[in-house]
């Protein structure tokens, strides 16, 4: 049962990392446009000669 000393903190760390990632994504506005994001994933890349969309 000594394994608990490693596994329990490890599990909690992973959970907290997930929570932190969620809060970060929320703060950086990734949930502001869910419809648009769904389409952007499959949008074609810009042809090189055109001016790239600046972010």
């Amino acid at each position: 049962m000594e394994i608990l000393v490693i596994l329990v903190p490890l599990a909690l760390m992973l959970g907290l990392a997930g929570l932190a990632a969620f809060l970060w994504s929320l703060r950086s506005g990734q949930y502001d446009d869910l419809d648009g994001a769904a389409w952007r994933a499959i949008a074609d890349d810009e042809p090189p000669q055109e001016a790239p969309v600046k972010r």
Partner: protein
């Protein structure tokens, strides 16, 4: 006179030498539009950011300060085929967005805690059956407490706050039993953990919060989305006014940048965006949006004009006054306030459910405790059982029953062109059994139409349309639109109050008053619609007359028939003259109608129907309808309605057809049916679970399973609101 467009009101600085503007864009609905707009705008030099938000239909733009005029973005979007207008976030929408984010953060925290506490609970549940050491169980309980207590303190805030507000106002709502349940469950679990007991309910308490937050978030998101759409529509109306910035210089500025005392220019064919008094000029104005009266009113020096009036013939200079000074508006506002107070007494289905629910649950818990003590159990065991009753009856499914249906039903309504202004409108609309329609702008289209276009040779009609493009008169605009005219006739001259004339291939063509075109004989000879405005068109010796009027909405008759088929009473209350209302009522087959009614009369009629027990749906658009919209049980406005009416109405419908009225009634009836069904499911669950809890055999495992089982069942049932509504007519 020099006219400039000035959008500086909407531009804000976004860091080092960069300026930012948000535009609402019409007609963006796919990835193609998104890419086209972003490429088109970022190809402009000095633009540093062009990003489309497809959910809210907006574009965020940033550029190097001082290099570009924001009006150029709008022109560029126009070239690309999109209508755009600067958008300013209203404070109401900003609050909704902030609230939505807060709920999502709470949901994230609660979901994280639920998952981790569950990870610790499952070994305990299985360990109770096998051979877990008590020390290990205690360790797992303490760990659960460490996760659940801070998470519940954070994620429970929306409920605790709302419960506290309700209690300090000496009422109760659904959040009171929720808060009591969660706090007691957590408190008892801590005490049990300290005493090395077998059962702790950290998992149940935090899971409850997670499920309820899902419901809360859905509810909030629905409201936020409606606000965003409504905000865009308001922006795209592009309400501007020509303000005098010098004695002879005018600037086209957004209405938000106009202050009392400013002087604005009102040209023929323009809708007035402000309240004020005419200081110079003479014209006829159309106040149908305000009073429902379709006859024009003469405006001269000293005449008050209200936002929403259309200027017909001459140019006016208007001094802007504060809205409160306008007597008509003041009267309407007073009626509106009274009506809104009456409305707020309506109790939502969820509140009614919780008002019954809370005392029953708390009494059951108390009786359980006393019952066990009388039966000889120790106080400790009795209280533990009582708290278990509270936990298992916690209104998890009840909290999801209504918001999930509301969210899905509002999505279905959105697809059929109806926007919800208030969440409880669905319940009220489902109960409506009597519909009152306003005539002007509601049963009829807000725009004028040429009714006898078929009688006129196509070539002549096209020519009349092209000539009409040179006039600002709204009737001419209607002719131009009906003819689909694109290129104006070169060298056309407008004679104020008469018409337009031009010479084409040596032949003189004229469009305007019959006397202007020498067509009086034609007019007196014909059997004409008394409601229509008559314009004449002459090409050399050939003369024609066009009859222009507000047409009925294309499907008005079918909608009235569909409402009758649903056993809903119908009547027309209009501020317009009797012949006009009578004609419309006859055409639609509505036996009950009243003409020339004032806003106060409309309210009186609604009150009378209310006393007879009818639930009235008021459909109207004019400012004169706003008080009656508020007084009715539930109300609807077309998107073309006056601002005040649109803000007051519970639902707003888009587009030319009237069909959304029936679609909304159908969708809401179905939704109410599902809400009731969900409440019964939730009650059924309690009826099954409570005896188990009272008997004292509930373990945390049973509580968790029952809670998630009932929540999932209710959510699945709500999804049925999505299925396509049957054809309405």
């Amino acid at each position: 006179m020099h006219v400039t467009r000035d959008f500086s009101h909407y531009v804000r600085a976004a860091g080092e030498g960069v300026q930012h503007i948000d535009l609402a864009v019409e007609g963006v609905h796919c990835a193609g539009c998104m890419a086209k707009i972003e490429r088109g705008l970022s190809a402009m030099p000095d633009v540093t950011l062009a990003r489309v938000n497809l959910t809210d239909r907006r574009v965020a733009l940033e550029w190097k300060a001082g290099t570009l005029d924001p009006a150029r973005f709008i022109d560029r979007l126009e070239e690309l085929g999109y209508k755009a207008y600067p958008y300013e976030t209203e404070s109401a929408e900003a609050t909704e967005v902030a609230e939505s984010r807060f709920l999502l953060r709470c949901l994230g925290v609660a979901a994280f805690a639920t998952m981790n506490v569950m990870m610790l609970s499952i070994p305990v549940w299985s360990g109770n059956a096998s051979d877990m050491l008590p020390e290990q169980r205690d360790f797992f309980h303490w760990l659960s407490a460490l996760i659940a207590l801070p998470a519940a303190a954070y994620a429970g805030q929306p409920f605790f706050r709302s419960a506290w507000r309700a209690l300090s106002a000496k009422t109760t709502n659904m959040d009171v039993p929720i808060s009591i349940g969660v706090i007691l469950a957590l408190g008892m679990s801590v005490v049990e953990t300290i005493h090395h007991a077998e059962h702790a309910y950290f998992d149940a308490a935090i899971m409850l919060l997670t499920f309820l937050l899902v419901g809360r978030f859905l509810d909030q998101n629905m409201r936020r989305r409606t606000r965003a759409v409504a905000g865009n529509l308001a922006a795209l109306k592009a309400e501007t006014a020509a303000k005098f910035v010098g004695p002879d210089e005018i600037s086209q500025v957004p209405v938000a940048a106009i202050h009392p005392g400013d002087i604005v220019l009102l040209r023929p064919g323009e809708r007035c965006a402000v309240d004020g008094t005419v200081i110079e000029g003479c014209s006829e104005i159309d106040q149908s949006l305000i009073t429902g009266e379709t006859l024009y009113v003469t405006a001269e020096q000293g005449t008050p004009v209200y936002a929403g009036s259309m200027n017909i013939s001459g140019t006016l200079r208007v001094r802007v006054s504060a809205a409160s000074e306008a007597t008509l508006l003041a009267e309407i506002t007073r009626l509106l306030d009274n009506a809104l107070q009456a409305r707020s007494r309506y109790m939502r289905l969820a509140d009614r459910a919780s008002r019954l629910y809370a005392p029953v649950v708390h009494a059951t818990a108390l009786i359980t405790i006393l019952g066990w003590v009388i039966a000889g159990a120790s106080w400790h065991d009795a209280i533990v059982t009582g708290v278990a009753v509270l936990i298992i009856t916690c209104p998890c499914a009840l909290g999801l029953a209504i918001p999930t249906v509301q969210t899905i039903a509002s999505g279905a309504m959105f697809k059929s062109g109806v926007l919800l202004n208030s969440g409880d409108a669905i319940e009220r609309l489902a109960e409506a059994d009597h519909v009152i329609f306003d005539k002007t702008g509601t049963l009829t289209l807000p725009n004028l139409e040429v009714t006898n276009a078929a009688d006129i040779p196509a070539g002549i009609f096209d020519l009349a349309g092209r000539l009409a493009l040179s006039s600002h008169h709204p009737v001419a605009a209607a002719v131009a639109q009906a003819a689909g005219a694109k290129s104006p006739v070169v060298g056309a001259v407008e004679e104020a109050g008469q018409g337009v004339r031009a010479t084409l291939d040596g032949v003189e063509i004229r469009l305007g008053r019959p006397s202007f075109c020498g067509a009086e004989a034609l007019v007196s000879g014909a059997n004409l619609d008394p409601e229509a405005s008559i314009v004449a068109f002459s090409k050399g010796p050939e003369k024609f007359i066009l009859s222009v009027r507000q047409g009925l909405r294309p499907d008005a008759q079918a909608v009235i028939a569909a409402l009758k088929a649903r056993n809903i009473g119908i009547e027309i209350l209009s501020g317009d003259r009797e012949p006009a209302v009578k004609a419309a009522a006859h055409a639609l087959g509505v036996p009950e109608w009243r003409a020339g009614v004032t806003p106060a009369d409309k309210i009186a009629r609604i009150e009378e129907l209310k006393r007879r027990g009818a639930k009235v749906l008021m459909v109207g658009d004019g400012m004169n309808d706003a008080p009656s919209l508020a007084a009715a049980h539930v109300s609807m406005s077309p998107i073309s309605a006056a601002h005040l009416s649109q803000a007051t109405a519970d639902l707003v419908f888009l587009g030319r057809p009237l069909a959304p009225v029936v679609a909304a009634i159908d969708a809401s009836r179905k939704a109410l049916h599902l809400m009731r069904q969900n409440l019964w499911l939730a009650i059924g669950y309690n009826v099954l679970a409570v005896p188990v809890a009272i008997s004292g055999v509930v373990t945390p495992l049973i509580a968790a399973a029952a809670m998630s089982g009932s929540s999932i069942l209710v959510m699945l049932n709500s999804l049925r609101a999505r299925s396509r509504a049957r054809e309405i007519v």
